[in-house]
C-alpha cells in the first residue's frame, strides 16, 4: 500500500503564501479541491533530536486534527478539517475569511461586545465535548457573517477536569483585561452569560468559581506584596 504521507512533499507546501509564523507552526494559504484552504505546517525544529521532533510533530498534528473533528461533530463552529498528514505535520482545513474578535473589539467596541456572549457559548460547547482549548483568546476567534469561529486547537487536549476548563476561562479573562481594558467588565459579563446559558447554571458556576480561585492564587497576576516601600 502506498501511503499518501510518503509521496507528499513538504517543499511544495512551503511555496504557498505565508499568513502567519508562530513558534509552533506556519499558517499558509492555498487551495484544496478548488476551494481556498489553510495549510497549517509544523516545521522541523532543528534544535531537537530527530526522533523527538518527529514524534512530537506527529502526535501534535494527529491530536489537533482529532480534536478539530470532534469539535465539528459536536456542532462547534470550527474550520472544517479537509485532510491531515501527521508524518509530515500538515493539517489542511477550511479558510475562515473574516476579522478576529480582537480587531473588532478594538475598532468599534460597543457594537461588538455582544459577540462575547457567543464566545462564552462556544467555549461552553467546547467544554461539553470535554475539549480544553488552552489558548482561548479574542485573537483566536474569527467572525464571519456575524458568526463566531474558533481557531487554533494547537495546544488543545481532551479533559473532563474542572480545573482545566477553568484555565480556559481564566486565559480568556486575562486576554480581555490586557487587550480591551476599558470595556473588559462588559465583555466578561456577556461571556459568563453565554457560558452559563449553554453549559447550565450548576456546572457553569462551579467552573467559573474555580477560574476565580486560579486568579487569586496569583500564578499569573503580580499581586503587590513587595517587602519594602519604594
Amino acid at each position: 500500500m502506498v501511503l499518501f504521507d510518503d509521496i507528499i512533499k513538504i517543499e511544495n507546501f512551503l511555496k504557498l503564501q505565508l499568513i502567519k509564523r508562530g513558534a509552533e507552526s506556519e499558517i499558509r494559504l492555498g487551495d484544496f479541491l478548488n476551494t481556498k484552504a489553510i495549510y497549517k505546517i509544523r516545521v522541523k525544529k532543528r534544535y531537537m533530536h530527530d526522533d523527538l521532533d518527529n514524534y512530537l510533530r506527529y502526535e501534535r498534528t494527529r491530536r489537533e486534527a482529532k480534536i478539530l473533528a470532534t469539535a465539528y461533530a459536536s456542532n462547534i463552529n470550527v474550520p472544517k478539517l479537509y485532510a491531515v498528514y501527521p508524518s509530515v505535520g500538515i493539517i489542511i482545513m477550511e479558510y475562515i475569511e473574516g476579522n478576529t474578535l480582537k480587531d473588532l473589539l478594538l475598532s468599534n467596541h460597543e457594537k461588538y461586545i455582544t459577540f462575547s456572549y457567543y464566545a462564552g457559548r462556544e467555549l461552553a460547547k467546547i467544554h461539553k465535548a470535554n475539549i480544553i482549548h488552552n489558548d482561548y483568546t479574542t485573537s483566536n476567534i474569527i467572525v464571519r457573517n456575524d458568526k463566531l469561529f474558533i481557531i487554533d486547537f494547537g495546544l488543545s487536549v481532551y479533559s473532563t477536569n474542572i480545573e482545566d476548563k477553568a484555565v480556559d476561562i481564566h486565559l480568556y479573562k486575562r486576554a480581555v483585561e490586557s487587550t480591551h481594558a476599558s470595556i473588559s467588565n462588559k465583555i466578561m459579563k456577556e461571556f459568563y452569560k453565554g457560558y452559563l446559558d449553554e453549559i447550565g447554571e450548576e456546572t457553569g458556576n462551579k467552573i467559573i468559581k474555580r477560574a476565580k480561585e486560579i486568579e487569586l492564587r496569583g500564578r499569573y497576576v503580580g499581586e503587590r506584596r513587595t517587602v519594602w516601600k519604594s
Binding site: R21, G22, A23, E24, K45, R46, Y47, M48, H49, D51, L52, Y55, L56, N134, D135, L155, V167, G222, E223, R224, R225, T226, V227, W228, S230
Partner: protein, 334 residues
C-alpha cells in the same frame, strides 16, 4: 557610587563589590560542597556563619577600598532556603547598622537576570533562567519581569542532580566544568517513549525523573538514559523559550543561572534563536552560578532609584517571586 552585595540563598556565600564607573571590583565566594547527598540547609548555614567575615574581608581587599567608602549594602532576601538567607540577612543588617549605610533588598532571581543583561549587553531580551532551584522563562513587560513559563515541579538543575544521585553518578555533580549527566550521555542513543511534558507555557520534570530512574532499574544502558533525559529536558525548555520569543517578538535571547554553562543547552538555544531571527548570548561562565557581584550590581541599580529598606524591616522571604518586583531601572542600566 559603589555597592557591596551579599548572596547566601543556597550553597554559595558570595560577597561582591560593584563600582558604577569601574564595574566589578571585588568578588569572593565560599562554596559549600556536600561530602554526600544534597544540601542540608542547617549545615550550610553554619558553614556560612564561619566564612562570612573572611568573605567580606576578601572582597573589600580585592576592591582595594574600605567599607567606609561603600555607598550601600545589598542583600539577597529571597527566594532561597531560610537558614542560609538568615545568615546573609543578619550580616547585612549588622553592617548597615554599624557603618550607617543604606540597606538594599535584592531579589536573588532578579539579580541573575540583571547580571546577564549587564554582561551580555542585551538591552531588552527574553531571558531563560535555569539553576538548581529555578527554571523560568521571563521577559520585561510594563514595569516588571513577567513569568511567561516555568517549571510546574522541580527545576532543571535539580532534575540533573537528583538523577545523577539516584543512579550513583554523583556527587560531585560537576567534573571539569561538565555535568556528570552530560559526560555520561556522550555516546548515548535516544530512547523512544519518555514523557515529554509541556503544558501550555510550562514544563514539568518530575515525571521524566521517575521514568528515567525506573529505566535504570530495569537495566537499560545508563548512557542512553542520560542522553534522552538531557535531550527531553533541554528541548522542552527551549521550546517554551521559543514560544515566548514568537509571542513577544523580541529580538534578543539570553541564558542565565547555574545551568547556563551547559554546552548542549547553549547549542539548542543558539539554533532556536536563529530560527526566530533573534540574537543569542549566554551569561559568561564565571557569573552563571550564584555570586555576590550580581547582588551588588542590582543593589546599585536599586539605590539609584532610592529603593532601600530599614534593617528592622529587612525580613527574608523564601518564596519571593521575581514578578513581584518593580523594575524602574530597566531602561537606564549602567
Amino acid at each position: 557610587m559603589i555597592t557591596l552585595g551579599i548572596e547566601s540563598t543556597a550553597h554559595t556565600f558570595g560577597v561582591g563589590v560593584f563600582d558604577e564607573n569601574k564595574g566589578i571590583i571585588g568578588d569572593s565566594r565560599k562554596n559549600y560542597i556536600p561530602k554526600k547527598g544534597g544540601i542540608l540547609p542547617r549545615e550550610v548555614a553554619s558553614f556560612f556563619s564561619d566564612v562570612a567575615a573572611e568573605a567580606i574581608k576578601e572582597a573589600l581587599e580585592q576592591a582595594k577600598i574600605s567599607i567606609n567608602n561603600i555607598d550601600g549594602i545589598g542583600v539577597a532576601l529571597g527566594p532561597g532556603m531560610g537558614p542560609q538567607l538568615r545568615v546573609g540577612a543578619s550580616v547585612a543588617r549588622a553592617l548597615a547598622a554599624k557603618y550607617n549605610k543604606p540597606l538594599i533588598p535584592v531579589n536573588h532571581a532578579i539579580a541573575h537576570l540583571e547580571i546577564a543583561r549587564y554582561l551580555t549587553n542585551m538591552k531588552d531580551p527574553v531571558i531563560l533562567y535555569v539553576s538548581g532551584g529555578n527554571s523560568i522563562v521571563t521577559t520585561y513587560v510594563d514595569g516588571r519581569y513577567r513569568i511567561f513559563g516555568e517549571t510546574l515541579d522541580i527545576a532543571l538543575g535539580n532534575l540533573l542532580d537528583t538523577f545523577a544521585r539516584e543512579v550513583k553518578l554523583g556527587p560531585p555533580y560537576i567534573v571539569n566544568g561538565d555535568h556528570v549527566v552530560d559526560i555520561c550521555a556522550e555516546k548515548g542513543n535516544f530512547i523512544k517513549g519518555f514523557p515529554y511534558v509541556v503544558k501550555g507555557q510550562d514544563v514539568s520534570y518530575s515525571g521524566l525523573l521517575t521514568f528515567a530512574i525506573r529505566l535504570k532499574e530495569k537495566g537499560y544502558n545508563i548512557k542512553d538514559i542520560c542522553f534522552t533525559v538531557r535531550e527531553i529536558a533541554f528541548s522542552s525548555i527551549a521550546e517554551v523559550t521559543e514560544r515566548c520569543v514568537a509571542h513577544t517578538n523580541k529580538k534578543q535571547v539570553i541564558l542565565t543561572g547555574g545551568v547556563a554553562a551547559n554546552k548542549l543547552l547553549n547549542e539548542k538555544l543558539t539554533k532556536m534563536a536563529e530560527n526566530q531571527n533573534a540574537s543569542y548570548k549566554p551569561v559568561p561562565f564565571k557569573y552563571a552560578g550564584d555570586n555576590g557581584v550580581m547582588i551588588a550590581l542590582t543593589a546599585l541599580l536599586e539605590l539609584k532609584h532610592n529603593i532601600t529598606i530599614e534593617p528592622e524591616n529587612a525580613f527574608i522571604n523564601q518564596r519571593w517571586r521575581l514578578d513581584e518586583v518593580e523594575i524602574p531601572w530597566y531602561y537606564s542600566m549602567i
